[in-house]
Each structure stands twice: as C-alpha cells, then as structure tokens.
Amino acid sequence: MSDFEPTPPTAPDPSTISTRSAPARDAHRETPLADVAGPYFGAYGGRYVPEALIAALDELTDAWEKAGTDPQFARELAALHRDYTGRPSPLTEVPRFAAHVGSGVRVFLKREDLNHTGSHKINNVLGQALLVKRLGKTRLIAETGAGQHGVATATAAALMGMECTVYMGEEDTRRQALNVARMRLLGAEVVPVTIGSRTLKDAINEAFRDWVANVENTHYLLGTVTGPHPFPQMVRDFHRVIGEEARAQVLERTGRLPDVVAACVGGGSNAMGIFNAFLDDPGVDLVGFEAGGHGISSGEHASRFSGGSPGVLQGARSYVLQDEDGQTRPTHSISAGLDYPSVGPEHAWLHETGRARYEPVTDEEAMAAFQLLCRTEGIIPALESAHALAGALRLGPAQPNSSAPATDRIVLINLSGRGDKDVETAGRWFGYLETGETE
C-alpha cells in the first residue's frame, strides 16, 4: 500500500473510537493483521495455567466478547478516555531532539505521558475495570514493576469503589518508592513480594496465586499483553486507541504515514497499542526496543529476542529468557517496567513473521536519550520510554523499508510514560543526588 493515503481532516473523536474494530486496510488479506485474535498468535499464546483459573478466564472472555459489540460499553469507555484520562493524547513534534537522529528527520512523540496517572497504562485499566463492574466483582488485584500499572489500577479502583491489592517485587518497591506512596494514597494495599528475584515476574506469580484463591470476587487486572488468553488480545485492544489516534494525527500533520514507529517493549502493551494501527501498512517499519541492561554479552539484560528462546512463562507460550532446563533466568534493567523475562505472545509472532523487529538498548544508551529529551525538549520521559528514544537515535536517517526520500523521514515514538517516578534514579545516575545507592 502507498504511504500516501487520503488524509483525514482531524484526529478521531474518541467517542467514535471502537475498542475492537480497526479498519481493514488490505482488502486482499482475509483477516487484517490488526484484527488477529487469540488464543494463538502463530505458535504463541494459549492458556498455560492451573485448571482452577479456566472458569474465570472463560467468564472474562465471554464478558469481553459481549462488551466488544455493545455500543453502551464503547460509549462508557470513550467518555472515561475523554473526561478522565484526557484523550486524545497530543502528538508533539520534537525538532531539537530530531536533529540528533539525523538531518531531515522529523520526530513525533505520541504523548501517553500526558494521560491521567502518567502513562498509557490507564487505557487498559479503565477498560478492564468497566468489564469487572459488569461481572459484579468487587476486588482488583494487579502486579506492577515500575509502579505505573499499579497506580493506574489503584486509581480505577478508587474511581469505581473497589478494593485493590497491588503486588510489587520488593526490589521494585525500593526503586519506585514514590509510586508505592501514590498507590497507598489512593487506598490500595501494596504487598512487597520477597520471593524469587523480587521483581515483576515474582509479583505476577503472587497475583496469580491470589487470583486462584479468591477468583469468586476478585479480578486479576493484568497490566500487559502477556498471560493466558484473553489477556494478550484484550489488553492490546484496550490500547489500540494509541495507534488509532497517532495514525490519524500523523496523517493530519504530515499528509502521510510515518516511516518508523518505535516503542519500548517490556511485556509489550504500549508497543502493541501503537503498532496495531500500522500492522497492515507494510511501508511502516515497526521497531520494538527491549532492555539491553548492561549489554547482551554481560548476560544482565531483559532482551528476550536477543537472548531468549520460545517457552512458557506465566500463562502463555512466547519468548522467554531461560536456561537450557527451562528455568527462568534473572534479568536486569535500570527500568523496572522493562525488567521482565517474557514478552507478549503477539510480539513473538510479529518477530517470527518479520513484521516487527526488536533490538536491545542498554541502560547507558537509555539514560543518554533520557537526558537528551529533557534538555532539548523540556520533557522528562519514563526510563522505559527512554529506551524507545535511544533506539530512535540509533536508527539514524536511513530506514530500510521506506521508499520516502532520504531527507524526509518521519519517526513516530510512543512516549509511553512520564519520568516523575524516575527522577530519583536519574538524579543519582547523573550525580545530582548524592545520597544512597547508584543504580
């Protein structure tokens, strides 16, 4: 398909954005890539969970399918997006940052950092919380790494009058103390997880255990596009709004589609959200940036596509950082939100089919990009999003899949969250805070 499509006059009105339907853009393809449904994405996905959870997963799938065709549900969610979250989120061109990517490159940031609660996470949380109300459940549980998903869940619980428990690795409660305080202010119970590596994957294990025991009144509000079906598909669909808005906004501003869409990939929800709208635009290069930590050769990273292999972890078959016995390997990232040994199954499928590519970004590269955006554009990004910024800097002006002239590249980066929570880590990294341990 051509890069030059008829230009819609404005960004879509959020009340018209469906949670489920993306327009079919390739008439020759029976199912657009954007609409591929679980439980399997190629060889990935499925439900690798105890039987005790199957009834709840079936109930959730059923509720989700009904809600997806219910205009009332779409209206309620669109109203929350507009009046509570602040959607549509703006698209910001960042020319002073773009100058560091390459001459003639235009860089646009999709500003999910400006959403209420500070990240894209709120899109999924509000969607699931609305579903839970329909199911009549009264308690939300969640896992969180960087704390953004925990804050978003605690927020939705407060908004809808539900109980909330958030599991967080003890190591992450230390790294993200500010977000722990925010969750508690919002009325949530934060449970530090002291087993295993004390990070995100251990928090997910604890959340699953809680869910198995309390599934009658409790919903596990999983925060990313991983886990058993229907989570990978459902969470993706709640985040589709990012890409749908961004696609229309870029078309409006530039008259054409971007050459590259870049996003950071931990579990992969912000990336799936923005990639989805471009999956059926073959001229758009989709690139996900994983946590390269101290470098792939150091073994201290969370790059599943560079250092992992297919396996099963926490409910889905996908790429997993594991040893030859299938034991999960420890991970490292300066960013708690990317420090996860598996990745959403749809990403595994996009990787294998070549529709998206995935590259590692080291802590150092991410921190350099973090500082660059602060100083060139006055925007403090989340450390997670800084990985996407660093990846974009590395892309340079030449893009392999593009037919656009070399002097007119358009790069769209999903700025998935803001860096308030990371100020302490960054302050120590750059020597502006002198006490305590340096990451």
Binding site: V49, I54, G196, L313, Q314, E324, Q327
Partner: protein, 264 residues
C-alpha cells in the same frame, strides 16, 4: 495399564484409598530426595510424586517453593529426575513426576516421555498444562504408555470435568480447594462434591490433593476419594531448606501416620 493404576487398584482391594506422597527432586539434595522417597515408601506411601524444581512454581505455596529454590541453588537439573525415578522405582512403588510444563518443553516433550519411560517412571502430573494445550504430551504419553494426570478444580464446569477425565490416564487429580499447595486447617468442603462430580463424568479414579496434612484429614478424604495426595506437610517434615540435611525420621514418622490414616 499404567503403574499408578495398579497401586490404586491394590489399595482398593484392601478396602482403602491409596496414599500419594509428594517430594521435590533435589531437596535436600538429589540423593537426599531419593532417600526421602524410599523412606516414605517404607512407611506405607503407595505412590511417589516427585516434583521437578522450577523457578516459577505458580501453583505452589511457600513451603514447596522454598524447597524448590533450595534444589535449584544446589544445582539440581531436569535430567537428574531420570536416575532418581529409576532408584525410587526399585522400591516397587510407582513414581509419578510432577512438573510445570516449561522444563518439559525445554527438554523436549517426546524425549522427556522416552527417558521417563526408560527410567521406569509411571507418568507425569502437570499443574499448569490443561488438556486443551497438551496434544504433544498426549501423543508422547500414549506412545510410551505413561500415566497422564491433569487437574480438576472446584470451579471446573461439567463439560471441562468430562473433557479432563477423558484426557487423563491413571487418575484425575482433584484440587480440593481454590488455592495453592500448603497445609490448611481443613480440607476444602467442596472436595467431596468435586470427586462425585468428576466420577459422574466417567473418571474411574479420582485422587484429592491440596491441603491434606494430617492423618485425620487423610482418613476423612480416604472415605470418598481413590487416593489422598500429601505434599507440603511431608516437605515441611523433611526440615528447613537451610538445615544441614533432611530429617528423614520425621518424614517417615509423618508418612506412617498418614498411611495409618488411609487404612483406618
């Protein structure tokens, strides 16, 4: 006929339920887990369930997770399970391996089935593999005549109970309660009903696990189930993972009490 079926049928002929005892491989060491399993069999355990330690045991409570962590820190490998199974099987008791699915996938499902059968293992219990996802394992276990134990839960629908019962070879593992492994004051009140509902779907043998820790509870469950599965309590009896070695006497003593419980 798989060997766990023979053990359950033998117990049935004695007018009682079978006792299934769980221990993790590599706890307190690989050799120690073999010694512990033999001690259990001497004390009257009918079937040994030997768990492969896994880094993310989502279905297990803190006691078994701590033991699995200890085993992994001690260097226990998946391949150690075959020698251990072979050594324990010499007691005459069938040995079922319990494993989360990823270590089996990493080893290779077909190779795992082949090597387990060659070691004299009875089959495999899969806490995070439901029949819906198990076509590869179903084919491999059929080929090597291995028992195939899937779980049912109080939340399972009649359709899923029927599907799971049909997919199992050996017995159906009924999780007594919604929750993870670990000792509880009482066995879930829904366990008896779950056993009955599972039998109604045609399952010839249903064993109950999760929450059984005392002789009294074992006796109670034995009244309505074909087998009683005990895990965390036995692991606890074997001692703290930080201790120098296992307390085999305490383990044997508890196993004997439980064995008496199912024979009462």
């Amino acid at each position: 006929m798989g060997s766990s079926i023979r053990a359950i049928e033998r117990a049935r002929q004695e007018g009682r339920a079978a006792l299934v005892g769980y221990l993790p491989l590599g706890y307190p060491s690989v050799a120690g887990s073999v010694r512990a399993a033999r001690a259990m069999v001497e004390a009257g355990v009918d079937v040994v369930e030997l768990g492969i330690p896994y880094s993310d045991p989502g279905m297990d409570g803190p006691v078994i997770q701590a033991a699995a962590d200890h085993a992994l820190r001690g260097g226990t490998r998946v391949r150690d399970v075959f020698d251990a199974v072979s050594a324990i099987a010499q007691t005459g008791a069938p040995v079922l391996v319990m494993s989360y699915i990823n270590p089996v996938l990493a080893y290779g499902t077909a190779a795992f089935a082949r090597d387990l059968a060659a070691a004299g293992g009875a089959g495999l219990i899969t806490p995070d593999l439901i029949p819906d996802e198990a076509s590869e394992w179903i084919a491999a276990s059929d080929e090597h005549d291995l028992d195939r134990v899937f779980l049912v839960a109080p939340s399972s629908t009649p359709q899923r109970l029927a599907m799971t019962s049909a997919a199992c070879r050996g017995f159906v593992y009924a999780a007594s309660t919604m929750g993870v492994t670990g000792t509880r004051a009482s066995v879930g009140s829904g366990a008896q009903e779950l056993v009955a509902r599972t039998r109604e779907t045609g399952a010839p043998r249903v064993c109950v696990g999760l929450g059984v820790s005392t002789a009294e509870q074992a006796h109670e469950v034995a009244n309505y189930a074909d087998g009683v599965i005990v895990g965390s309590a036995l692991v606890k009896a074997l001692g703290s993972p930080d201790g120098p070695d296992g307390d085999y006497e305490a383990l044997q003593s508890l196993a004997a009490e439980l064995a008496a419980g199912v024979r009462r």
